[in-house]
């Protein structure tokens, strides 16, 4: 009887484990499938791509697609543009959102409720809805109408046109109203509210002002939230193609990939090369691999800190 129940328990556990592993392996496969597809096709030669006998394992590793993708997507320049426009904005955004969040969470301000409402609005309203007024705004940048007033007096329009310059990204990021700025402020706010006030009070007693307290006490204590926001900021800025296409003539990596066309490939590689055997699927997958690789490497280094920060801060998605 005892043996039977032990066996039954063991069998039940086996089945449960089997189902659990099956579920997670299947889920893992679904999640990893697109990446596998990209990797495999990026290294397939043209003949392998259209060979029905070749599926997941190419006959040989072909690096020509990577080389072609570098040319077609102008990877070097696109990468530099991505760093200049997007990553620097991401870092600025990270800093400015932290400062804004600290102010909102720790200080009593007049009009705080209005600011909170605007914050929520910033989170809720998608970028596409406000892109046209934003474009107009940046094409004739003004501050409280002052430059416009001066222009009217002087007779010439002195409002600068920021379209096509890095300032369209850097300025909003500096003022914490860039890409997903509202969300980052909110994340930081929730974290700062959870920080014990005693830490800051101890600093005040020692004569530290608000800035010193923020720099010496709050920032070092905000490890978890900082890592989360930094990661999300970098990833979202890295992936952004819409704003890059709207505001810039220069291409970032994401906008290069997004605006791929066969004609572009022909113009960069020459008609003979494309006729000889470089197809869109190979170029696009190779481009996607190049695009994803820096983020993967970055994540590999930050993985541990990222998981800890998610667990600590309870922030998901």
């Amino acid at each position: 009887m005892k043996a039977k129940s032990i066996l039954k328990g063991f069998g039940g556990k086996l089945i449960t484990n089997f189902i659990r592993y099956l579920f997670f392996i299947s889920l893992g496969f679904i999640l990893i499938y697109p990446f596998l597809y990209i990797v495999v096709n990026a290294f397939k030669s043209f003949s392998d791509t259209y060979d029905v006998t070749v599926n997941w394992v190419p006959k040989s590793i072909y690096l020509g697609n990577i080389v072609s993708a570098f040319k077609v997507f102008d990877v070097v320049n696109s990468f530099i543009n991505t760093i200049v426009y997007e990553i620097i904005s991401a870092l600025m955004q990270f800093c400015s959102c932290m400062v804004a969040a600290y102010g909102l969470s720790r200080f009593k301000l007049k009009g705080k409720s209005i600011m909170m409402a605007l914050l929520i609005l910033n989170i809720l309203v998608p970028t596409m809805m406000i892109i046209t007024p934003s474009y107009v705004n940046f094409s004739r940048m003004d501050f409280f109408g002052i430059l416009g007033l001066i222009s009217k007096v002087v007779g010439t329009d002195i409002r600068p046109n920021l379209i096509g310059t890095p300032l369209v990204f850097h300025l909003p990021s500096l003022l914490a109203v860039g890409l997903k700025g509202g969300l980052f402020i909110y994340i930081f706010m929730q974290f700062f509210k959870g920080l014990p006030r005693e830490l800051e009070e101890a600093a005040w007693i020692d004569g530290a002002g608000p800035w010193k307290t923020f720099l010496r006490i709050v920032i070092p204590s905000s490890g978890a939230a900082s890592v989360t926001v930094l990661l999300f900021s970098i990833v979202w800025h890295w992936n952004d193609y819409y704003l890059a296409q709207m505001y810039m003539e220069d291409k970032t990596l994401a906008s290069s990939l997004n605006s791929y066309s066969a004609v572009l490939a022909i113009s960069k590689l020459g008609l003979d090369t494309t006729m000889a055997g470089v197809s869109s699927i190979q170029l696009v997958t190779a481009g996607c691999l190049i695009f994803v690789l820096p983020l993967l490497i970055f994540y590999l280094f930050m993985q541990k800190k990222f998981i800890n920060s998610i667990a600590t801060s309870g922030i998901v998605g």
Binding site: I131, V136, S139, Q245, N258, S259, V263, A265, M275, G277
Partner: protein, 487 residues
């Protein structure tokens, strides 16, 4: 006496000086000389590749190709006419040389900006064309390539910020996409000339105002046509579609019987690929789920012919298994003889059908005529139309550039299309009177439904169409609301 003569002479000399200066000052620059253009025309783009492909090999021509011939037809319902080419005016109307020579002098030295989602090399050697145009007219052309996904939004944003380009490409007369356009009358140019595509301009007209234009017979328009793989046709001993067309026997029934013949002989499941399901529907005079009558958009869903044709086309995919959607690789690999597409795919720069183009076995004919149907409908894949943009700085210069840029005389046909047969067929399609554009396909209206329609059998189509009635009605309403704003 001496003094008197001196003063008379001095006066005379002074007057002579004044008249000489008056004669020199304010001289207008001479109008562009016809001879200047004629001298350079032969050199435009012809280069050393006349008749050759990019590797220097002779482009294979179908042995039956007869350029410049009139198509003989014993089927009056085919409505086939082919006008002979006329140097200086292959589009009809005034030649581009005459037009440019009458260009106002004040336009010299100005700049125009084109806004397009295609880069210049989509149109062959457009960069060289622009340089040539600038050299001859003094008008500089700036080509701005915008991403297709953000095209409309960015255009609207530029208009709102007073930084509008002068003209922009448009491919379909959808009213809400025309909100950034201004009527062509702003260009102060006579577009009634026969060179301009009046059918297209009718589609782009709202309350008597025309918002976009293009040239007749421009190489860069996109007409629905049937492609065939000559190697497969020969292998299975099928009749040559080009010969059938020339004899006026290229009909829908003939096409279907050839498909059946191929399937029996080869044992293959499908006989033709099709980039869009409406390629066949258009020959029956049916476009997309809604249409435009020059005054308003209206739903086609209640039209019994629309339903019947849609059912029949769906059956071609699913029941008869004649058509396979997309099937680019299958056609390119010689697995089927036919492929329904448009003249874009007959261009050398187009990357489709590498194998067939490399082997020189890709040919095309117009879409077949429908047996017993009086009218021949020429399907339009998309228009190559250009519109003036609101806030354009230099609208008056635009028509002169378009007249030059779109004229087929300024293109080397042998390097633009894969072979001379494609040139002939493209030209023939352009000359057809009854053109039919699909405003939007099902997949643009309701992406999830497009896959569903291809899995249906004929008698299920009605319930599918009924279930999408709200989508179509909503779209028609949006378009008509936009029309009111345009008016």
């Amino acid at each position: 006496m001496k003094n008197t003569i001196k003063s008379i002479l001095s006066t005379f000399l002074a007057l002579a000086l004044i008249f000489t200066v008056a004669g020199c000052g304010g001289t207008e620059e001479p109008a562009i000389n016809d001879d200047d253009f004629f001298a350079d025309t032969e050199n435009v783009l012809s280069g050393s590749n006349e008749g050759n492909d990019s590797t220097g090999n002779q482009i294979q021509g179908d042995s039956q190709t007869q350029t410049g011939s009139n198509v003989q037809s014993d089927n009056s319902s085919n409505n086939q006419t082919s006008k002979p080419s006329n140097t200086g005016s292959t589009t009809g109307g005034k030649s581009w040389i005459k037009v440019l020579s009458s260009m106002p002098k004040k336009l010299r030295g100005t700049t125009i900006e084109m806004y397009n989602w295609n880069p210049p090399n989509e149109y062959g050697n457009a960069s060289a064309l622009m340089e040539k145009f600038t050299k001859e007219t003094g008008i500089k052309v700036k080509w701005t390539t915008a991403d297709f996904n953000t095209y409309q939004t960015k255009l609207a944003s530029r208009v709102a910020s007073d930084d509008a380009p002068d003209f922009a490409r448009t491919n379909r007369p959808l009213a809400y996409n025309m909100m950034s356009f201004q009527p062509l009358s702003a260009a102060k140019y006579d577009f009634t000339d026969a060179a301009w595509d009046q059918t297209l301009m009718k589609d782009y007209s709202v309350n008597g105002k025309v918002y976009a234009t293009s040239l007749n017979n421009t190489y860069i328009s996109s007409w629905a046509m049937m492609f065939y793989n000559k190697a497969v046709i020969d292998k299975y001993d099928l009749e040559n579609p080009y010969q059938l067309w020339k004899k006026g026997k290229w009909t829908y029934n003939k096409f279907m019987s050839m498909c059946e013949e191929f399937k029996k002989a080869s044992g293959k499941e499908y006989a033709a690929g099709s980039i869009q399901y409406s390629g066949i529907a258009q020959i029956f005079g049916i476009g997309g789920p809604y249409s435009y009558n020059g005054k308003k958009y209206y739903s086609m869903l209640d039209d019994s012919k629309f339903l019947k044709v849609t059912q029949d086309v769906v059956d071609l995919y699913n029941t008869d298994k004649t058509l396979l959607h997309y099937a680019v690789n299958e056609f390119d690999n010689g697995e089927m003889p036919f492929w329904i597409g448009s003249s874009i795919y007959a261009r050398r720069m187009n990357s489709y059908f590498k194998n067939l183009k490399g082997a020189g076995t890709l040919y095309c004919v117009p879409m077949p005529s429908v047996d017993g149907q009086k009218t021949y409908y020429q399907g339009v894949d998309e228009y190559e139309a250009y519109a003036l943009i609101k806030g354009a700085k230099n609208p008056e210069a635009v028509p002169y550039f378009l007249r030059y840029f779109l004229d087929p005389e300024n293109y080397d046909s042998s390097s633009f299309f894969v072979n001379s047969q494609a040139v002939e067929v493209h030209k023939w399609c352009a000359e057809q009177k009854n053109k039919l554009l699909v405003f939007e396909y099902w997949d643009k209206l309701n992406p999830t439904s497009f896959d569903a329609i291809r899995d249906l059998k004929g008698n299920q189509v009605k319930s599918f169409v009924d279930s999408n009635e709200n989508v179509i009605n909503q779209r028609v309403k949006e378009l008509n609301d936009a029309l009111k704003k345009l008016s």
